[in-house]
């Protein structure tokens, strides 16, 4: 595979042709915040937290869906980018009802960790406080739309890895919701295989094991790389 050379944060680095800027960064231990991206799933550039500055581009570009190119000059962190990332996080918190104190994923939540990591100490926008429901009709799992940030990892893992495509999205913009089987209660879904992959990859407490209490959900998304390597490379390593 041809190797290319680009500049990230004033350092010359090499990457494989076809890699995204995010993959190139992670290969060189350059940390970029992400929420919708997950190793093993297709990239969608939805959360916008991995925005980077690419010399010559009039706007910031999501690193997960932008291909790393020869001689590209990329800046991953500066005052403007950091400020934008905090704004994105604040908007995410304002959009739904994220109440960490009583959440099943408290202390084990990617959204909460990122807020702490990026120094988000308050939300400057008005909370929308939408009235959203909780669906616990499934025998083993529940979905709380109050905590969903529409990263769509559940939709992708169900479609791309499990192959069931139980999850999808309805509505537009701020009205969007993840749904099961054309908006039937999850417990009535005929396509769901009850595998639980969606629950494990969900970055917040939106998808959870039924019966969990505060801070009891501990998810492990790394299983995905393990089963994909098994499937694609016939290698099984823990």
């Amino acid at each position: 595979m041809p190797v290319i050379t680009l500049t990230i944060n004033d350092e010359l680095v090499s990457a494989r042709s076809g890699q995204s800027i995010l993959e190139a960064c992670r290969d060189h231990d350059i940390q970029l915040p992400t929420l919708c991206y997950l190793d093993g799933l297709s990239a969608r550039g939805g959360c916008r937290l991995c925005l980077v500055d690419v010399a010559g581009s009039p706007r910031l570009l999501p690193a997960c869906t932008t291909e790393a190119l020869e001689n590209m000059v990329v800046t991953t962190h500066n005052e403007k980018i950091d400020r934008y990332r905090r704004m994105i996080l604040e908007l995410t918190f304002a959009e739904r009802n994220h109440t960490c104190a009583v959440c099943v994923s408290n202390e084990n939540c990617e959204l909460q960790s990122l807020a702490a990591e990026l120094g988000m100490d308050h939300v400057r926008y008005d909370y929308l406080n939408p009235e959203l429901n909780l669906d616990t009709s499934h025998e083993r799992y529940g979905v709380d739309h109050n905590r969903c940030l529409l990263c769509l990892r559940c939709v992708r893992v169900c479609d791309e890895v499990e192959g069931a495509h139980t999850w999808d999205v309805m509505g537009r913009g701020v009205e969007s919701r993840v749904i099961t089987d054309l908006n039937r209660p999850w417990g009535d879904s005929e396509s769901c295989t009850d595998c639980g992959k969606c629950v494990e990859v969900c970055p917040t407490g939106a998808l959870f094991d039924k019966g969990s209490s505060v801070a009891e959900m501990k998810k492990e998304a790394s299983f995905l790389r393990r089963i994909l390597d098994g499937r694609e490379k016939r290698q099984w390593q823990r």
Partner: protein, 476 residues
């Protein structure tokens, strides 16, 4: 004669209270009211959530007694699951509840009421607080803080945190007590007993010193309600409801806590957010009842532990032959006896092998659509009543909190104090503090949550028969 006092409802003002006193044409007290102007709304906004979350959510009702809500909510959840909660889990829950009684009662006696009781009702207001108490008697203050810290440590040993632990769950508890922490707690017990013994001696001095005015702090006949064990002993976690009258006659015995709606009705007044529960069969006037430490010691046949039983026998002298103790000032004394009882029970439980049994959580789905959990919180009997759909989503929530059940008695106490101490048209700091203490004997959640060393924000208005404001004192 009557005059409506308008209260602007302000949300989330926990700890704010107002008292109004109305005078007649002769300058005598005609009426008085204790207004609670805060609104929390848990009964409403929990609808639509899952009952699994309720222990964690309702623990947030109070920072002082989160364990009470945690347990009542988990018990309501147990009923919804319809399975047997493992005996080790019940023992662990009881243990945490005793830890909570120790810490909450220690807070009330030493930190919130201590400045009044030890420094005096008329002491300089700038000194009549925990800082003044530390200056006046550092050893006592330190011991009181140490006793509370012990209770908090016990809660933390089980629930990983002392405030708002999410540890009890429908069907059981999440974690056992690690052996090394059990040993540490056992080591601390002798010092805790010594603190309570000293406090009990001090309490008897206080009863002597206040003898001239004790009867103004809520000395009146009323009913008393509390849980009692199957054998009639003092009970805080399970058991049956008992209601007695001020002559000691048992009106209800062995009443299933789940049938509370047949015993209790709730009246409302437009001048307070706190409801006015009363004993239904006797109506809103004669049905006034008190809950909490005083009520529990009145309704039980005996405590059930040697030291507490010895003290209980002395306590009962203040009630007369076969009659309950009817003065609310004795809540303080009752609290100390309950701390002693809790320490003895903690000692018993820590030595019990059942605590190391690993089966602490039963698993099940929704098997009943109604769950009612009842336990004795430090301030009195606490009811959590949920109705859920088949998926466990809450359709209705009813919470009856201990402080609310003492509302009628608190109002009556305020009136008794006003009638005793108000004359003419002038108020002074001594009166303000006595009225405030009349509320504080009940240790309501209002004062617990201010975190200002027991100084409750309070406003007293003196209104003439013509409705003129004669005098006003405000403390913010």
């Amino acid at each position: 004669m009557s005059k409506t006092v308008t209260i602007e409802p302000v949300t989330r003002i926990e700890g704010h209270a107002k008292i109004t006193i109305q005078l007649d044409d002769n300058g005598k007290v005609a009426d008085s009211r204790f207004h609670v102007t805060e609104f929390r709304g848990f009964e409403k906004f929990c609808v639509g959530r899952s009952f699994w979350e309720m222990p964690g959510i309702t623990a947030r009702i109070c920072g002082i007694c989160p364990v009470s809500h945690l347990l009542a909510s988990s018990k309501a959840g147990d009923m919804i699951l319809g399975v047997r909660t493992p005996a080790p889990a019940v023992a662990l829950r009881r243990l945490m509840n005793y830890g909570q009684l120790v810490q909450s009662h220690a807070l009330s006696f030493f930190l919130l009421s201590g400045p009044d009781l030890i420094l005096g009702m008329d002491a300089d207001p700038s000194q009549r607080n925990i800082a003044g108490l530390i200056a006046a008697d550092p050893d006592l203050a330190r011991a009181g803080i140490g006793l509370r810290a012990f209770g908090q440590k016990l809660i933390r040993s089980l629930g990983d945190r002392s405030v708002h632990p999410s540890w009890a769950v429908p069907g059981g508890v999440r974690k056992s007590l690690p052996t090394e922490q059990r040993d540490e707690l056992l080591k601390q017990l002798p010092a805790m007993y010594a603190t309570v013994d000293n406090a009990l001696d001090l309490m008897k001095d206080i009863l002597d010193r206040f003898s001239a005015e004790i009867d103004a702090y809520g000395e009146f006949p009323s009913l008393f309600m509390g849980l009692v064990a199957a054998d009639g002993g003092l009970e805080h976690y399970d058991g049956k409801l008992r209601v007695i009258d001020s002559d000691g006659k048992v009106l209800e015995d062995s009443a299933a806590p789940e049938s509370y709606q047949q015993l209790i009705a709730e009246a409302e007044q437009n001048w307070s957010y706190l409801k006015f529960p009363y004993y239904k069969p006797l109506g809103p006037e004669a049905g006034m009842y008190r809950v909490g430490p005083l009520a529990r010691l009145n309704v039980c046949d005996f405590a059930g532990t040697p030291k507490a039983d010895r003290e209980l026998r002395q306590f009962r002298h203040y009630g007369g032959q076969g009659k309950p103790v009817t003065g609310s000032f004795y809540y303080h004394y009752a609290r100390l006896i309950e701390i002693l009882f809790s320490l003895e029970r903690i000692e018993e439980l820590l030595a019990d092998e059942i605590l190391i049994d690993h089966h602490i959580r039963s698993q099940a789905g929704v098997n009943q659509n109604v769950g009612i959990g009842v336990s004795e919180a430090p301030r009195g009997t606490l009811f959590h009543h949920y109705r859920v759909d088949d998926n466990g989503i809450l359709e209705a929530v009813n919470l009856i909190i201990a402080t609310g059940q003492n509302n009628l008695a608190m109002n009556k106490t305020v009136k008794q104090l006003a009638e005793r101490f108000i004359s003419g048209s002038k108020l002074d700091q001594g009166l303000l503090n006595r009225v405030e203490h009349g509320i504080r004997v009940y240790d309501p959640c209002l004062s617990c949550s201010t975190h200002e060393a027991g100084r409750m924000p309070m406003q007293i208005k003196l209104i003439s028969a013509k409705g003129e404001l004669l005098d006003e004192i405000e403390r913010s």
